[in-house]
């Protein structure tokens, strides 16, 4: 076998394969360019799901003939100048690969015009062959047309999916872009849902893209800590899905995927969701560009945070803070089950209003070029297709010293505070007459929550009662697990779990929190080891306890346990003081409420 240097045409085709995978990746690159050019309107047309034609038209600042001549040249970009720029990338594109890659695997054409230019200019690329720049007719902005994608790479073309499947992926790309850039209008020809106006609020976008029902369940996220700002919308646990497909993550306006952030979301929702359910979240993270590396993969969908654990913690806290503002929705869900779809619609509570204005400068309507300018100390690099200088950059990117949620919390009403009478059903459910209707309580789930919150309070105050074990529970662990566990022995001890080295591969558990009526040292240790394996190290003792007890809090009264009247009253009294009374630590609901109005509608007392 002889080693040969590949021909430039072959190299460009191979490189194109990394950036341009399918029509949606072409669309993603073109939309990013339009956004970087400060466009206020982006219109997209697709034929055969983008396989035969993909056209993006924007009203950005356009390009002059000199820049246009370099548009299809590989590694030609307006967004970077030197290697230092890579440390603080804020524009969506920066690699200078996209247009060159597209031009090498399709028939592409760019028509662009700057505002001050008398005419537009056009350049074409066909399988890597770039034409001369010629004058053309066209409005201010840029039009990019990509025809017959992969026509010269049959192996790639064979792997394209059906037109409808490709169109769906393109729609997803536009959805993500539209969520991140509410200041820009988006439209996709033939897609009624994708007709979005410039300047819409995020919740309006969510309502248009995902439906009003979902938007009504949105809880605003607005949190700032350690120089990071987290915004967006967390959808009420009622709106959870069976997959993660509606978790939209953005960092500095850039869509991304990150297992750690996904995990942070799961942790934040852990007490609210049953296993197998995944939260719906639109999360925008604002962070100093120097603290995140977006140059990890050609598609820029993956990134690395310099302080991954800190980001995890901030995101988790931000979403938790949002969830604490839940409004009463349980009654609405009850009505849906109780009164059928018709009354369910009527029973949906008033839409949540008063969303705080999202930090638009950071997440929404300013152009990415502005962020480039900020990162580069005000030096704006004209992007292909862009013209206007960047607007003033949001000061929200600047680190702040204080660590505090900025949202004023709106607590969900505690349904156990105005109980009049009760009735026990099947030694499992407690029926409560409340001020405005009645509630059905799961005695086991509610008691779990009561115990859990008491344990947390103890842990936070540093007074966890530890029940010493008669015979220490000896457990064998893998060397790495053992080391990681013992490293956190002090935090565990503060949380009431006494763990000691027992030589070899073993550890011994000498004590457990006294409040656990049915302690299971093995389950506790297994749970903690699983957390440590994920790299999620709880830093505070109460965090340790929170994680352990949500897994192993099996001390509650069980279904079928017959409670005396005094015990029920004590349980309700304790429940009336709960911070989060609506879910057990494992996410199951504790109470289902019906209002008098719902009953009146059902019994036709009110038409």
């Amino acid at each position: 076998m002889v080693i040969r240097v590949l021909a430039p045409a072959v190299v460009s085709k191979i490189a194109a394969g990394e950036v341009v995978e399918r029509p949606f990746s072409v669309l993603k690159e073109l939309v990013e360019n339009s956004l970087d050019a400060g466009s206020t309107r982006i219109a997209v047309e697709l034929e055969e799901g983008g396989k035969s034609l993909l056209r993006v038209r924007d009203d950005g600042k356009g390009m002059g003939p000199d820049d246009l001549a370099l548009a299809f040249v590989q590694h030609a970009t307006s967004k970077l100048v030197d290697v230092d720029d890579l440390d603080a990338i804020v524009s969506l594109g920066f690699r200078g690969e996209a247009l060159a890659s597209i031009g090498s695997v399709a028939r592409a054409r760019i028509v662009t015009r700057e505002a001050e230019s008398a005419s537009a200019f056009e350049v074409r690329a066909d399988a890597g062959v770039i034409s001369a720049v010629k004058p053309a007719a066209g409005p201010v902005g840029t039009l990019v047309e990509v025809r017959d994608l992969f026509y010269n790479v049959p192996a790639r073309r064979r792997f394209l999916r059906t037109a409808s499947a490709e169109r769906a992926r393109c729609l997803d790309v536009l959805t993500r872009a539209a969520l991140a850039h509410c200041g820009t209008a988006f439209c996709l020809e033939g897609a009624r849902g994708m007709d979005l106006h410039a300047g819409e609020a995020l919740e309006e976008r969510v309502a248009k893209l995902f439906g009003k029902e979902l938007a009504q369940k949105a809880l605003p996220i607005d949190y700032e800590q350690a120089g990071m700002r987290v915004g967006g919308l967390a959808i009420d646990p009622d709106g959870a899905r069976r997959d993660r497909s509606q978790q939209y993550l953005f960092v500095n306006g850039r869509p991304f995927q990150d297992a750690s952030i996904t995990h942070a979301l799961r942790e934040a929702y852990r007490e609210y969701l049953m296993p197998g359910k995944f939260p719906v979240v639109f999360l925008f993270l604002g962070i100093d560009p120097a603290r995140v590396d977006v140059n990890v993969h050609p598609t820029k969908s993956e990134l690395r945070f310099v302080e991954a654990r800190l980001v995890f913690s901030v995101v988790r806290r931000a979403v938790l803070a949002a969830l604490q503002t839940r409004t009463q929705r349980v009654g609405a869900r009850g009505a849906a089950q109780f009164d059928g779809a018709r009354s369910a619609a009527a029973a949906v509570p008033e839409p949540v209003t008063g969303f705080p204005d999202l930090p638009r400068g950071l997440f929404g309507d300013d152009g990415a070029a502005s962020r480039v300018a900020e990162a580069r100390g005000g030096h704006v690099v004209p992007a292909p297709g862009s013209g206007a200088p960047a607007p003033e950059v949001s000061a929200r990117l600047q680190p702040t010293a204080a660590s505090q949620p900025v949202t004023e919390l709106r607590r969900e009403p505690n349904p156990f505070r105005a109980v009049r009478h009760f009735l026990v059903i099947h030694d499992l459910y407690i029926l409560l007459e409340t001020e405005d209707g009645f509630s059905v309580v799961d005695q086991h789930a509610l008691h779990e929550r009561v115990i859990y919150e008491k344990l947390l309070a103890q842990s936070r105050s540093g007074t966890v009662a530890v029940q010493r074990l008669l015979v220490p529970e000896v457990l064998d662990l893998a060397p790495a697990d053992k080391e990681a566990l013992l490293e956190h022995a002090a935090a565990l001890e503060t949380a009431g779990v006494l763990v000691r080295d027992f030589g070899g591969a073993s550890i011994k558990v000498e004590g457990m929190p006294a409040a656990l009526r049915r302690p299971d040292p093995k389950a506790l240790v297994d749970g903690l080891v699983a957390e440590l394996r994920l790299g999620e190290v709880p830093r505070e003792p109460h965090e340790v306890l929170e994680r352990l007890h949500s897994r192993a809090c099996r001390s509650a009264i069980m279904a079928g346990d017959r409670l005396t009247e005094v015990e029920i009253l004590a349980l309700l009294e304790a429940a009336s003081k709960l911070e989060h009374p609506h879910n057990c630590p494992h996410g199951r609901p504790t109470v289902l409420s019906y209002s008098s109005a719902q009953l009146e509608r059902y019994f036709k007392r009110r038409v």
Binding site: H447, S461, R468, L470, E473, A515, R518, P519, D520, K522
Partner: protein
């Protein structure tokens, strides 16, 4: 099948079987029935949940037509307890039971006896003979301390063992331990080291059955046979078989403190009253009562956030330096519940070491309880 039998004896024979009948739905529907077989002037009743099987034999029954049948256990038991005729004539033809009485006639649907599994009551090897009363006493005095959660399987039962010439029962849930041993003549014929771990629910049912079947017979004895998987209890009129727990019971002997620094003697009634009073000011998340021993006084205190605090005191007899120790009050109260003595002895070293309650420590009977302290408060 056609029989004539005494109603009260039939009811007394059925009662001990009922704990073996599963309450919830079971994969084997036949287990909801009691198996009844009439032959040789005897009526043999069997009930089982496959982990626990109980068989009771009723003598002197007039068998007009031998046979066997499966009767719905709960319904049949209720029926026999409701009718008042001293003698009952029970006839089973096909799948129908007929019971004519002076107050009316009852019919009940039965099931085919062929559906019932053959229950194993195999007596293998040499059995341990022990007085029924003593056996029941020892199990009742210890079984409450065993673990209730399914995860810690080996501590979900009571360990029966022979130590020299003594029969011992011991149970622990890892936080406290109950131990009782007594001289047992039958133990002399058994190899030292004989032991078996039995599930506490089955054992509870067995003790109830034994107590009911030997009521009014203070000298009644039973024999325990143990195989690898089963334990069999044989009484004159009954046999009880249960599956054993496979697992390693903790090394409990090393966990019993010996020769503690402080020795306290309590009046049981006063101790119970003081513990109860201070328990009022505890809650689920903080089930702890502090005991402070100074001079001839014991002080009890408790505190629960958002609830309040309590402090009481009583006179005691003490030897040693005293000190402080914190316990879960429920553990103390459970011990006092099974105590028949007026005095309770307590020993401990310090707040981090186990405390030992001794209810009896003579040659004939040793009854002690170990409770691990609560720390961190």
């Amino acid at each position: 099948m056609k029989i004539l039998c005494d109603r009260s004896r039939l009811a007394a024979g059925l009662a001990p079987i009922m704990p073996a009948i599963p309450v919830k739905e079971t994969a084997k529907p036949a287990m909801k029935f009691v198996h009844i077989e009439a032959k040789d002037d005897k009526l043999v009743l069997q009930g089982s949940n496959m982990e626990l099987s109980i068989e009771v034999t009723i003598d002197s029954v007039k068998i007009e037509e031998p046979g066997r049948a499966l009767l719905p256990a709960k319904t049949f038991f209720a029926l026999i307890n409701e009718v008042t005729d001293p003698t009952l004539r029970i006839e089973v033809v096909g799948n129908r039971l007929t019971l004519p009485t002076s107050s009316g006639k009852f019919e009940m649907v039965t099931s085919s006896a062929e559906d019932y599994p053959d229950l194993s009551f195999v007596a293998d090897g040499k059995g341990l003979e022990i007085a029924c009363e003593r056996f029941a006493q020892q199990v009742s005095a210890t079984e409450f301390a065993c673990a209730k959660e399914a995860a810690r399987y080996a501590t979900n039962g009571v360990l029966l063992s022979v130590i020299d010439d003594r029969f011992a029962t011991v149970a622990t849930d890892g936080r406290r331990l109950a131990f009782m041993s007594a001289k047992c003549e039958g133990a002399a014929d058994i190899e030292s080291g004989w032991q078996v771990l039995l599930p506490h629910k089955s054992l509870q049912a067995t003790v109830r059955a034994i107590t009911a079947l030997t009521s009014g017979q203070p000298n009644a004895t039973l024999t325990i046979f143990v195989t690898a998987n089963m334990a069999l209890f044989v009484l004159p009129q009954a046999r009880v078989a249960m599956t054993v727990i496979q697992g390693v019971f903790p090394d409990y002997l090393s966990a019993i403190p010996r020769g503690c620094k402080s020795y306290i003697e309590f009046n049981k009634a006063l101790l119970e009253a003081n513990v109860r009073r201070t328990t009022v000011m505890t809650d689920d998340s903080n089930p702890a009562v502090r005991l402070v021993f100074e001079g001839s006084q014991a002080r009890f205190s408790s505190e629960a956030a958002g609830l309040g605090a309590a402090e009481t005191a009583m006179d005691v007899t003490m030897q040693g330096p005293g000190g402080t120790i914190v316990f879960n009050p429920a553990f103390i109260l459970e011990i006092l519940k099974v105590s028949k003595e007026d005095l309770v002895h307590f020993e401990f070293d310090d707040e981090n070491s186990p405390g030992k309650f001794v209810l009896s420590a003579d040659e004939e009977l040793e009854q002690l309880y170990v409770i691990m302290p609560i720390t961190g408060l």
